[in-house]
């Protein structure tokens, strides 16, 4: 029973309530760090870590935290984990830390994290909260990887820095720049949502 519950949470995070293409959250970083897959990988790991850990901490403290100051507590927790990630990147992956620039610090303001703390971890026990954080983080990561794959593939002709297209390939420079990210993300949301058209029509009142 516990397992099926975990599975439900994972399906929700990855698909049914995917933070990026369902809730349109975390778009800022989704656009900013997706021009190279290696950056995306590190960013995704960071977000998954911060999400799971903040969810766990918020959930552990859920019965003691006075509701009046819960937002303050959540921000404190999230910020602490993000700073820890930032320090670790600076110490062990300085090149990537530089490439990601301010976007690691900006994980603090990523709505996905506060959204999950507020919407899930605050009212659920620790284990499901960790699973939820992990699932939502992966849901975010999957979309980022999709965007990054096409941007790097078309923009540089490489995948994870390895050349896969012939040298005479004309690079789609626009894919590396910000507009490329907008096109890709919009395209992905469009494709994914047209799969779910029927489901949407049943609940038209919501939109």
């Amino acid at each position: 029973m516990a397992r099926s519950k975990s599975r439900k949470i994972i399906v929700k995070g990855l698909w049914k309530e995917n933070p990026v293409f369902r809730q349109i959250l975390g778009i800022c970083s989704a656009l900013a760090v997706t021009n190279l897959m290696i950056n995306t990988l590190i960013m995704s790991i960071s977000v998954v870590f911060v999400l799971a850990m903040s969810n766990l901490t918020v959930s552990l403290l859920r019965n003691v935290t006075p509701p009046r100051i819960r937002m303050m507590v959540q921000v404190l927790i999230i910020a602490s984990y993000v700073i820890i990630v930032d320090i670790m990147l600076k110490a062990y992956l300085p090149d990537i830390s530089e490439a990601l620039g301010p976007y690691v610090g900006l994980i603090i303001t990523n709505c996905i994290i506060m959204g999950r703390c507020e919407g899930f971890a605050r009212s659920n026990p620790p284990w499901p909260s960790v699973v939820d954080g992990f699932a939502c983080g992966c849901g975010y990561a999957v979309i980022l990887f999709l965007v990054a794959f096409f941007r790097e593939f078309l923009g540089f002709g490489t995948v994870f820095g390895m050349s896969v297209l012939p040298a005479q390939w004309t690079r789609w420079t626009i894919m590396v720049m910000a507009p490329g990210a907008f096109f890709m993300l919009a395209g992905i949301i469009w494709i994914v949502r047209s799969f779910e058209k029927k489901e949407e029509e049943q609940i038209t009142g919501r939109s």
Binding site: I84, K90, A91, Y92
Partner: protein, 210 residues
């Protein structure tokens, strides 16, 4: 009610104490590593502006080895200057010194290298700033910094460089500014000229004195 408020304050205080303690511990633990990374980064930049950078895929140890052989740092009146030597490690080829000043949004840090006669620019780099990405942030891009390479250092009205509207720079002491980043361009022009004036005077005095 009072009790609740008091609890909130004490709770928040303790939680903050715990998390700041945790973050400080992680920071202290990794401080040395971060410092080392920044040290290597600075060495790379100095070698780069002096035109001595090896291939991009050499190890950090190799960078340090080249740096120790070809660069000597010294302090002149509280200012740090790096002397760059040829591959043999004895003939002086130029000087590198830091650029620093207010940008449009925050401080800008850079490095510049001039030849041993203080007549030409070897190279220039900006490595830390808070300018708008895609606008002022483009000061780090190759096309912008490449413009300075080989330029002669002849002051006109105590200024070495003028940043002109993009595409209109023609004279020896003019370079293209950045479109959409007038504030940053002006700030960079100002910090470049003031740093150059200060360090070149210092270097000239020092060179004639020895």
């Amino acid at each position: 009610m009072i009790k609740n408020k008091l609890f909130s304050i004490v709770y928040m205080f303790l939680l903050t104490l715990f998390f700041t303690g945790l973050v400080s511990a992680v920071h202290t633990f990794n401080q040395e590593e971060i410092r080392l990374n920044e040290h290597i980064k600075l060495q790379k930049i100095i070698l780069h502006v002096l035109g001595m950078q090896p291939d991009s895929n050499v190890s950090d140890n190799e960078i340090s080895r080249i740096f120790n052989k070809r660069i000597k740092s010294e302090e002149q009146q509280g200012r740090i200057i790096y002397r760059g030597y040829g591959p043999d490690g004895t003939t002086l080829v130029g000087y590198a010194f830091p650029l620093f000043g207010p940008g449009f949004w925050g401080p800008v840090f850079g490095m510049i290298a001039v030849d041993d006669q203080l007549e030409k620019i070897h190279g220039i780099a900006f490595y830390k700033h808070s300018e708008t990405p895609g606008l002022g942030g483009r000061i780090t891009e190759e096309w912008f910094v490449r413009q300075f390479k080989g330029k002669r250092l002849v002051p006109v009205q105590q200024k070495y460089f003028f940043l002109r509207p993009p595409g209109t720079a023609q004279a020896e002491n003019e370079v293209d500014a950045i479109t959409g980043a007038t504030g940053t361009s002006r700030a960079v022009e100002k910090l470049l000229n003031s740093n150059l004036a200060e360090y070149l005077a210092l270097l000239a005095k020092h060179a004639s004195g020895t």
